[in-house]
């Protein structure tokens, strides 16, 4: 834990675990007892609840840019999020667009991640100017694709243009380009 404590010396990390549902039974009951005895703990739990609700609402609204796991992608889909997906191979340029009712655009970036532990994905304009850069993305053993999700609202603001996604990583101590993917962005399409 980070060692942060409430005014009565209780570990605030326990409150986060409690709210996340990672403690049950006697341990949960002890934490609840603490919450009802310690007003500061109650207040901190209220902040944790507010933050967790905020995260959930931002994700539900599709207003985020993040790499995803397959399970998270499935969950978003099950929850009714309208997801437009593009599968990209290194070196290819594919047409893409955002429709009015899209919530999220997911690029499935295929690459050889063997021996790579972390990668960076950069979204660039044809001019080379960067629109975004996400560094330090963890790569799991055996992973062959990276799911990069961008808010459809954000992409709707772009005019028709050619975009480039560049995936870089460090293999055997040497930084290298793992993949370059072209997107012929047709802009915001009518419904």
């Amino acid at each position: 834990m980070t060692g942060e404590r409430c005014s009565r010396g209780h570990d605030v990390g326990d409150l986060v675990d409690y709210w996340a549902g990672d403690v049950e039974g006697d341990q949960a009951e002890r934490i609840e007892q603490r919450i009802f005895e310690c007003a500061d703990c109650g207040e901190r739990l209220a902040h944790i609840e507010a933050m967790s609700r905020g995260i959930s609402e931002v994700v539900r609204s599709g207003r985020f840019h993040s790499v995803l796991t397959e399970s998270l992608l499935n969950r978003l889909s099950r929850d009714g999020m309208r997801i437009r997906m593009y599968t990209l191979e290194h070196g290819a340029i594919i047409p893409c667009a955002v429709w009015a009712d899209d919530d999220l655009v997911v690029s499935r970036l295929r690459a050889d991640f063997t021996g790579v532990e972390q990668v960076t994905v950069a979204l660039q304009l044809e001019s080379g100017d960067e629109l975004s850069r996400v560094p330090d993305i963890p790569i799991a053993p055996g992973q062959t694709e990276l799911l990069d999700a961008v808010s459809a609202d954000r992409l709707r603001q772009l005019p028709p243009t050619r975009l480039r996604l560049v995936l870089t990583g460090t293999r055997a101590g040497k930084e290298e380009v793992l993949g370059e993917y072209g997107l012929e962005h047709a802009g915001n399409m009518a419904p």
Partner: protein, 195 residues
């Protein structure tokens, strides 16, 4: 039990939980509304959070707050709360009982509402409202892994063990990273508050 002297509004926030409980317990219904409101102010948020954690529903949590305070005030007045110094524990116990039997008490709750409508008409504890655009911006300041851990925890509602399996890290590492990430996010979204 002797009747406690009434507290002025300005001193209410300074008196102990036990003194509040004693005043409510020794005063006729309707004569300790300030003390009742103060007890409510101190504990309603915690009961709501307890309800949210166990019932997973905002409306049910708000209902639980009403039920718990109706029962707490009634039992205080009847002299059925033995240890007034541990009124917090009593409220927690009442929360547990009522949350655990929520379906069974639904009918009873309606009756209580009719009987004690004046006392349950106090304002519901309001959940803190955040600036979602700010949350969105602040989420982007986290590392991809930390952002993923927070999303998997609080949106997908996955336990640390499942997140660890998915991200190939130990559950204990998930907990540590989650707490740190939430603290960073809090510092960015509401720097004046402490988690």
């Amino acid at each position: 039990m002797g009747r406690m002297p009434r507290s002025s509004a300005s001193t209410l926030s300074a008196i102990t939980d036990e003194m509040l409980a004693q005043t409510i317990a020794s005063t006729a219904a309707g004569d300790a509304t300030d003390e009742e409101a103060e007890l409510y102010r101190r504990y309603a948020s915690r009961v709501r959070l307890f309800g949210l954690r166990h019932l997973r529903d905002q409306s049910a949590a708000q209902d639980l707050v009403q039920q718990v305070f109706v029962v707490t005030l009634e039992r205080l007045r009847r002299g059925e709360v033995r240890n007034l110094g541990a009124i917090g524990s009593f409220i927690l116990g009442t929360s547990r009982t009522l949350a655990g039997a929520q379906r069974k008490i639904e009918h009873r709750r309606r009756g209580l509402h009719e009987t004690f409508d004046d006392r349950t008409a106090v304002a519901m504890p309001q959940a803190e409202t955040l600036d979602l655009q700010r949350v969105e911006r602040c989420l982007q300041t986290l590392t991809p892994r930390d952002r993923m851990i927070l999303i998997l925890t609080f949106y997908a509602e996955k336990p640390a063990a499942d997140i660890g399996a998915e991200l190939h890290i130990a559950p204990a590492a998930v907990r540590v990273a989650r707490h740190r990430a939430l603290t960073r996010l809090r510092d960015c979204v509401m720097p004046e508050k402490a988690i």
